[in-house]
């Protein structure tokens, strides 16, 4: 099978390269493990273990007292409401931004290259959208909590701004990727941009646009639950409270409710998207 002296054509030419990359990866792995203070044995440290075990034991049974459940239902609605309000705000912001930034409604571009000023305006709006979506919504929420205080307003604003950035970008992409012919015909024949929008762009792309918006609503629900951890209300805030009090039973209920909420909104969004197609 293998011989001690192998003829050159039988030696693996890629072997040295692979060994090199493997060594390089290991060389990067070591400092990463150090930097992240990677000590899995900390879970088995006796004090930690005692606390974790008790916490996990508290999971069963999950807290099912009627008062608590009522609270959970209220907070769940709050989470959904924050997400819905946030996404509505995002759409209100995104729609005009999309319309300004999309090339397909450009009148100057009909005859070849876009003129300088419209092109600048479009570029600036694009950068604005990038800025809005690059900052994680949690950071926005932290900022808004300082400005408008604790409560759902911070969450709604945070989701509104971040998602405006995401919606704006994807709406523009959807509009530009469709067939430009009908829209451009309207513009070429002297129709206004609004007419081109309502009679050309929207009918053509409405299915994709609504599909993406519904998907984002589902994501907003998850975001909104998380934002509660910094004081924006909803399930997240309740989970934070219960965890701080080491109340495993309540945390278990909240986790289950959260997972159910995610699953339900997934189903609902799937159904809505099917109905709209």
């Amino acid at each position: 099978m293998s011989s001690t002296t192998r003829s050159p054509h039988l030696r693996d030419p890629a072997w040295l390269g692979r060994v090199f990359w493997a060594m390089a990866a290991l060389a990067l792995l070591m400092p990463a493990l150090v930097a992240t203070e990677f000590k899995p044995w900390i879970f088995f440290d006796p004090d930690n273990l005692k606390v974790s075990m008790r916490f996990l034991a508290d999971f069963f049974p999950p807290a099912l007292g009627s008062e608590f459940l009522l609270l959970v239902v209220r907070e769940t609605w709050r989470t959904v409401a924050i997400a819905t309000a946030g996404l509505t705000l995002a759409m209100i912001l995104a729609i005009p931004l999309t319309l300004v930034s999309t090339r397909i409604l450009s009148i100057s571009a009909l005859s070849g290259r876009m003129h300088f000023l419209p092109s600048c305006v479009r570029q600036i709006v694009r950068w604005l959208l990038i800025f809005l979506r690059s900052i994680p919504e949690l950071i926005w929420a932290l900022v808004f909590v300082r400005v408008v205080g604790l409560g759902p307003a911070a969450g709604v604003l945070a989701i509104g701004l971040t998602y405006a950035g995401m919606l704006g970008k994807v709406y523009a992409e959807i509009l530009e990727s469709g067939d430009a012919h009908s829209t451009q015909s309207i513009l070429r024949n002297g129709g206004s941009r609004l007419q081109a929008l309502f009679f050309g762009l929207l009918p053509q792309n409405s299915a994709e646009l609504t599909s993406y918006s519904v998907y984002r609503w589902e994501c907003a629900i998850r975001s909104s639950a998380v934002l509660g951890f910094v004081g924006a209300g909803g399930l997240g805030q309740q989970m934070d409270n219960s965890m701080k009090m080491f109340n495993g039973g309540e945390v278990a209920t909240l986790l289950i409710v959260f997972m159910l909420l995610v699953w339900l909104s997934d189903l609902l969004s799937g159904y809505l998207r099917k109905v709209m197609q």
């Binding site: 099978m1 054509h9 693996d12 030419p13 890629a14 072997w15």
Partner: protein
């Protein structure tokens, strides 16, 4: 390996179960070490025929006997054992695009390899000399270390054929081995296959469109048409009139160098 089909009816995997069967009531016996060419127009059921023999599809009726065992009445473990002793080479070479030729070939030898051997060979190929010799038989040995997606169609087909030589198989089932090869390479390829099969005593069953090759290189030719055996003869007895009957209404499919169109239409 001895192959025996008894009243076998089989459907194409993608077709409905109660549709027209691809092969009907086939009764064929092939002795160990025999070399058989299967010819026929497209739609005759040649590929389904091979798939039935290699146990890729279960027949809807009839039995398939490999080495005197009714394969579909065996336990899964025993069936896997039998499978390890055959190899089926489909028309499109089963090679992952980004894999290197050497690893694809070693994969063909997996039924004979232990777990440790497989794992080691995955990371560092050890069976390189076998692979090299297998490729040499088809004049594609300089591609040993190349990635499959960097090869031309003809080279890929030859690598697919070399894979057969790597397998610990006593039954070789090959579907259209020469479709992407030019005449010289086709000649070399079919010679290698036939010689190596003979040297190992392996049973060789191959489907071909090149009827001249079928008649010149194989001792036995089976003609299939519409899922049934049109003829099953020693190669010397396959006359042009048999061929013209087999390929009636499909004459354009005859890929040939020596069989002329006009000789077919004149009665033998």
């Amino acid at each position: 390996m001895r192959v025996r089909l008894h009243q076998v009816t089989g459907h194409h995997p993608a077709a409905e179960q109660d549709g027209v069967p691809a092969i009907r009531n086939l009764n064929i016996t092939i002795e160990p070490g025999e070399q058989v060419a299967v010819i026929g127009p497209s739609g005759a059921g040649k590929t389904t025929f091979l798939q039935i023999i290699c146990a890729a599809i279960q027949p809807s009726a009839g039995q398939v006997w490999l080495d005197d065992m009714d394969i579909w009445s065996l336990s899964t473990k025993d069936l896997q054992q039998v499978r390890g002793r055959l190899i089926c080479a489909p028309q499109v070479p089963p090679l992952p695009p980004r894999q290197r030729v050497v690893t694809s070939l070693i994969a063909g030898a997996l039924p004979a390899m232990s777990l440790t051997q497989s794992l080691v060979n995955l990371i560092y190929p050890l069976k390189t000399s076998e692979a090299y010799q297998a490729l040499e038989a088809f004049d594609v040995q300089d591609k040993l270390w190349n990635r499959v997606d960097r090869l031309s169609g003809g080279e890929r087909q030859r690598v697919g054929l070399a894979r057969i030589l790597m397998a610990p198989a006593s039954l070789w089932l090959i579907d259209e081995p020469l479709s992407a090869l030019d005449p010289t390479r086709a000649e070399q390829a079919i010679n290698s296959l036939v010689d190596r099969a003979a040297a190992r005593g392996a049973t060789l069953i191959t489907t071909l469109h090149q009827v001249d090759v079928a008649r010149s290189k194989f001792s036995r030719v089976i003609g299939l048409r519409d899922g049934a055996v049109a003829f099953d003869l020693p190669a010397s007895q396959v006359t042009n009139s048999e061929l013209s009957k087999l390929y009636a209404q499909h004459e354009h499919e005859l890929s040939n160098l020596h069989v002329q169109h006009d000789t077919l239409s004149t009665p033998a």
